[in-house]
Structure formats: structure tokens, C-alpha cells
């Protein structure tokens, strides 16, 4: 009995030790295989990047040889009729930049306000559930924002914001002079603003929390109020991070597809260039989503992928710039709050 259990014990011990330690040769091979495996999966990211560039390049080759890159980017027509085919991306580039610009103008100040409240004003008892609620906004899929915008928000914004603006400013400023319909570049911009608020505000909050308390203490000791402390000590210290957060929000807004498709009005061709705040328009991504399944020719499909190429270049520039700025700030700040 006892000897049996001892045998069992040593047996288990041997097994455990051989499992853990193994013999040297096997251990070395196992490590090499594992190292190769994790290295391979890490390199998979590079592979994906190559695949992305390759497929967008191959897919859009036809349109760029038909129109030329410059011709495609500066053209305004969108004509799929055979024999008169002509494709240009300019209206959608303008539409994209304008709706994202509106989103930034509204979303960034609001996000900074929220971040200021969460990082500087609210006690942690209040700020952590609030952060959770705001981050819930980020978890809502954009198609649901779109659904809400199309069936609910559109009427609210038309009646309460757009029509008053049109009535008061429309007769004097051409930019407001178009009878609002609810489905336009302004509504799209506002819903985009709501959508980017969670990401911009939560990164801004992180950036503000990364500012060392000594900065604040210095300002407070000079008699500064809370706002003055933020304005003089926190914002300047974290400005590259805050700028990066905003640009990251811009990247989101530029690439957003579904909610824009549902609410921007889906104009095509030269009329998609927004001349007023309440013009129907179209963005790069919304046109791709709208026409991809209905593309009648290879050239039209290629033109849509060409829009994707323009979008890819635009967002890559935006995102790399933003990430570099944020990481510079968040990593190099010893003594931060977290």
C-alpha cells in the first residue's frame, strides 16, 4: 500500500518533471518550433498589409489606367453608361472631408469637455461608471447609429436645428441657403460626431491622466483655478496626445461607411459636391457600399475599388500621424496618474 503510493508519487513526479523539464534535445526543438510559430503569426500582420495593398492595387489598376490617377482624383463625373464611361472621385473626396470636418468641429470640443470632466473634475466614484457609459457608445455598431439617424434623429435635426438655421441665416449666407431635408452632409457630420466622441474622449482622458500631478500642483500653488490649471498646465503638457486623439477620431470619421450611407443623401456625380451645409452628398466609403453589389461593369467595379484606394491612402496618412503623436505622449510621461 505505502510502497505503491510512493511508486505512484515518484511516477507522477517523474512524469511532471519530464513534462516540465523534458530532455534537453526535445526542449530545444520545442522552443524552436514555438518561437517559429509566434514569429510567423506576428509576421502575418506584414502579410496582411501586403495583401491589402496588393488587392486594392490590383482591383483599381483598370480605373487608374483608364482615367489616370490624377484624372481620377480630380474628375467629377460618375457615368456608368457603356461607351460614355467616366469616373471621378473628387465630389466624394470633398464630401468625405466636409462631413468629417463637421464631425471634428462638433465632436472634438465636446470630447475635450468630457475628458476634462472625467480626468479633472469628477470624483472616481462618478468618473468610472461615466467612462463605462461613454465607452458603451463605442460598442454600439455604426449600422445601429445609422438606423437611429435615419428614422429618429433625421427629423429632430431637421425641425430643431436645420430649419431654424435656414430661416435665420439662409437669406444672408449662401452656405445655409438650401431648404433642409434631414438627409444631408450636416446631419451626417453630426451623427459622425456622436460616433467619434467615445474614442476621442477616452483617449483624451488617458492623455490628461498621464500628465504628472506636479504640473497641476505647480499651477494650483500659484492660485490658479481648476480651469486655469488645465489650460496652463495640463493641456500644453498633453497637447500632442490630445491632437493625436482628435486625428484618430478624424480617421474613424473618414472611414465610416454605414451610418453615412443611410443619412448623407447619396448624391452622385458633380451634384455630390456639397455647395451648402444642407446639400445631399456622398463620401468615398458610402458610394462603395451603395454601388458595389450593383456594379454593371468591371470598369465600374474597378472605379469603386479606386475610391477604396484613395480612402486607404487618406486614412493611412491620418492614422500613422495620430498614433505617432499619441504614443509619444502616453509613453513618455513618467509620474502620471496611472
Amino acid at each position: 500500500m505505502t510502497s505503491g503510493s510512493i511508486h505512484l508519487n515518484t511516477d507522477i513526479k517523474e512524469r511532471v518533471s519530464s513534462f516540465l523539464v523534458g530532455d534537453r534535445k526535445r526542449k530545444k526543438i520545442g522552443d524552436k518550433v514555438f518561437h517559429g510559430l509566434v514569429l510567423g503569426t506576428a509576421a502575418y500582420t506584414l502579410f496582411i498589409i501586403v495583401i491589402v495593398v496588393f488587392s486594392v492595387g490590383v482591383g483599381s489598376a483598370k480605373i487608374f489606367s483608364h482615367e489616370g490617377f490624377i484624372g481620377f482624383v480630380t474628375g467629377t463625373n460618375w457615368n456608368a453608361v457603356e461607351g460614355r464611361e467616366s469616373y471621378g472621385a473628387l465630389p466624394y473626396i470633398i464630401g468625405t472631408l466636409m462631413s468629417s470636418g463637421i464631425a471634428l468641429l462638433i465632436g472634438v470640443p465636446m470630447s475635450l469637455g468630457i475628458a476634462f470632466f472625467l480626468a479633472e473634475m469628477a470624483p472616481s466614484r462618478l468618473s468610472s461608471p461615466l467612462s463605462f457609459v461613454i465607452e458603451l457608445l463605442a460598442a454600439v455598431p455604426s449600422i445601429i447609429y445609422g438606423l437611429w439617424a435615419l428614422f429618429v434623429f433625421r427629423f429632430l435635426i431637421k425641425d430643431w436645428i436645420e430649419t431654424p438655421l435656414y430661416n435665420t441665416l439662409g437669406p444672408y449666407i449662401p452656405f445655409f441657403n438650401q431648404a433642409p431635408f434631414g438627409l444631408d452632409v450636416f446631419s451626417a457630420g453630426i451623427v459622425l460626431a456622436i460616433m467619434i466622441i467615445p474614442i476621442v474622449s477616452s483617449i483624451s482622458r488617458d492623455v490628461m491622466k498621464a500628465v504628472p500631478d506636479t504640473q497641476r500642483e505647480a499651477a494650483y500653488s500659484l492660485g490658479a483655478t481648476r480651469w486655469e490649471t488645465s489650460r496652463m498646465a495640463v493641456f500644453p503638457y498633453g497637447k500632442s496626445g490630445l491632437l493625436g486623439a482628435s486625428i484618430l477620431g478624424l480617421g474613424r470619421a473618414v472611414g465610416e461607411t454605414m451610418l453615412v450611407t443611410l443619412i448623407i443623401g447619396n448624391a452622385i456625380g458633380p451634384s455630390a459636391i456639397p455647395t451648402t451645409l444642407f446639400s445631399q452628398s456622398q463620401t468615398l466609403s458610402s458610394l462603395i457600399a451603395n454601388e458595389f453589389n450593383e456594379a454593371s461593369s468591371d470598369l465600374q467595379l474597378s472605379a469603386l475599388i479606386g475610391l477604396g484606394a484613395v480612402l486607404l491612402i487618406l486614412t493611412m496618412i491620418i492614422n500613422i500621424g495620430a498614433r505617432l503623436m499619441v504614443s509619444k505622449m502616453v509613453k513618455v510621461s513618467p509620474g502620471g496618474r496611472e
Binding site: 506584414l46 486594392v56 458603451l136 457608445l137 428614422f151 456622436i194 477616452s202 480612402l311 486614412t315
Partner: protein
């Protein structure tokens, strides 16, 4: 600003009694100035504080409105038939969104099977095999450069518009096998997952105390086993939250599915055929001119939002009290 600089400069140069005089001068001026503007400054502070609170409320109202509308309009159509049946004829209010729910589960499931292992292993590489500190040797520097490149490209992938990822799925798989398919959709969604999981895994593993690894080494255990059975095991909750986060994110993706799985009103037929998905269904229903279609759209939205809220809540539950940082908003 320039005024105070001047004072500071003076203060440095002067010594003894003079310095004391100067600094009391400075204090005097500061005191007077601050008193003079005290009430205005306090009012500004109050106004800014109120504005900040308004911003917070302004962000919460849309969230409340979205949830309220989805629940109100969605609950009206939810029934067993709605959840299990294929859609009826266009414009009628019979049938349901069964194929869309099934398609979402299959596509997201397959994407997770591809994306989760790759993401976790890639995160393991970045945390365990590529130390961030810059070494002296050529080899260390090469590894560190490689790892930083991977990190940068992961960030680039995270920022890619999902519609572009849809194009990738279309060109590489749909055109290759000449059919809209679950594979293409899952591949596209896995591209969205991998950088998220990789990043969360890396950050979580970096928080594992080094003493655990050292204990393993001192027992002569191989690095692969230390990584898998000690480090990864210690960090499993954090890694799990990363995976769920990524699943919640792709469950709501619509744009890449348009050009990969296409959408259909039929149930799943095979991995090389088209399927439907909830977000895609919502889009198609919202674009139809029928009231009944819109009602179904709200119903599908409710199902989708419930799935995502359950996933988000489970992240919170797993992370609760374990010091895991969940960053739903920033990834």
C-alpha cells in the same frame, strides 16, 4: 507671461535682502492681480465646469435615445417566429430573421477561430520574444525594429476603414473562388480582429510579474512551456477580455460583409456559399420602402445590440476586480 519671466530672472540674479524684497514685490503684485480678477476667474471656472457637464450630458442623451428607440421598436416585433423563420415575401410582415442570426453566428465564429489564435500568438511574440528595450547587438536591434514595425502595422490595420477590408476579402477570396462566401467574410472580419487581440494580449502579458518567469527558468522549464503554462495562464482573463472585445467589435461590422458574404434570405448552405448577417440585414431592411421592413430592421437591431451588450457585460464581469484595463472605446 513676459512680466513674470522678468521677475523670475531678477529673482535669480539678486541675492540676500534684495532677493527677499524682489520676491515680496512679486508676491504683492501677484496678490493684487489675482484679487482683482478673482471673481471673474472664478466665474470663468464655473462656466467651463458647467460646459463640461453639458458635454457629458450631450453624449449620454444620444446613447439613451438609441437604446430606447431600439428597445421600444424592436421589442414590438420579437417573437419565436421572428427569431427562427426565414424572411417572408418582400413588404409582408410574415417570416423572420433566422438566417441572419445564424449567419452572424457562423461568420463571426469562423472569424474568431482564425483570428483569436493568430492574434494571441502574435501578442505573445511581441511581449515575450521581442523585448522593448533596445539591446546593443545587431540581432537585438533587428528584433526590436521588427517588433516595432509589427506594432505600427497592427495600429495601421486597426485604423483601416472596414470597407477597404471588405475590398480585400472580395479581391482575394470572392474573385478567387468565384462566389460570395462565408470564408471571404470570416477572412475579412479576422483582419479586423487580429490587431485588437494582438495588442491586448501584448499589454496583458507585459503586466505578468517577471518573478514568475524567473521561477520557471530556475526550475529548468523551457521557454515555450513557461510562456504557455505560466505566463499565459496567469494572464488568461486579460487575454479573454481582448478576444471578447474583438468579437463584439466584428459582430456589428457591416461594410466588409457587403462585398464578401453578400446576404441572402436562405439559411446556411455551406462555407463557400453566401450567408446573411444581422448588420447586413438591418441595412437592407432600412433601405426598403416598407413599414414592415423598418419594423423588422428595429427587431434585428435589438437582437444585435443584445448580443453586443452581453459580450461587453461579460468583459466587465471577467475584468471586475482583477486590475484588467478594458479599453472598449480606444481600440
Amino acid at each position: 507671461m513676459s512680466n513674470s519671466d522678468e521677475h523670475m530672472g531678477k529673482k535669480d540674479k539678486l541675492s540676500g535682502e534684495k532677493s527677499r524684497n524682489a520676491s515680496s514685490d512679486y508676491r504683492q503684485i501677484f496678490h493684487e492681480v489675482s484679487l482683482k480678477h478673482a471673481s471673474r476667474r472664478r466665474i470663468t471656472d464655473k462656466i467651463i465646469s458647467i460646459l463640461a457637464i453639458v458635454c457629458v450630458i450631450g453624449a449620454i442623451i444620444p446613447l439613451g435615445s438609441i437604446l430606447l428607440e431600439v428597445i421600444k421598436n424592436g421589442a414590438a416585433v420579437i417573437s419565436i417566429q421572428f427569431l427562427t423563420q426565414p424572411p417572408g415575401s418582400i413588404g409582408s410582415d410574415s417570416g423572420g430573421i433566422g438566417p441572419a442570426i445564424q449567419g452572424t453566428l457562423i461568420t463571426v465564429g469562423l472569424a474568431s477561430l482564425i483570428g483569436a489564435p493568430i492574434g494571441i500568438l502574435s501578442g505573445i511574440y511581441l511581449s515575450e520574444f521581442a523585448p522593448a528595450g533596445s539591446g546593443k547587438g545587431v540581432k537585438e536591434r533587428a528584433i526590436s525594429f521588427f517588433a516595432n514595425t509589427i506594432r505600427l502595422f497592427n495600429d495601421v490595420l486597426t485604423g483601416l476603414p472596414s470597407i477597404v477590408i471588405g475590398i480585400v476579402g472580395y479581391v482575394t477570396i470572392v474573385l478567387a473562388i468565384n462566389s460570395f462566401s462565408v470564408w471571404a467574410g470570416a477572412f475579412a472580419l479576422s483582419i479586423i480582429m487580429i490587431p485588437i487581440i494582438s495588442r491586448v494580449t501584448e499589454e496583458t502579458l507585459k503586466l505578468v510579474p517577471n518573478s514568475l518567469r524567473e521561477a520557471g527558468y530556475s526550475l529548468g522549464i523551457s521557454k515555450s512551456k513557461i510562456t504557455l503554462f505560466i505566463v499565459l495562464k496567469y494572464a488568461k482573463d486579460g487575454v479573454l477580455t481582448g478576444v471578447i472585445l474583438a468579437i463584439a467589435r466584428i459582430a456589428g461590422e457591416t461594410a466588409p460583409l457587403i462585398m464578401t458574404i453578400l446576404g441572402t434570405s436562405l439559411f446556411f448552405t455551406g462555407l463557400t456559399g453566401p450567408v446573411d448577417a444581422l448588420p447586413l440585414k438591418i441595412w437592407r431592411l432600412a433601405s426598403q420602402p416598407y413599414e414592415s421592413a423598418h419594423a423588422f430592421g428595429w427587431g434585428a437591431a435589438l437582437v444585435l445590440i443584445l448580443i453586443i451588450l452581453i459580450l461587453s457585460a461579460s468583459i466587465r464581469i471577467i475584468a471586475h476586480g482583477k486590475g484588467i484595463r478594458v479599453r472598449t472605446g480606444t481600440i
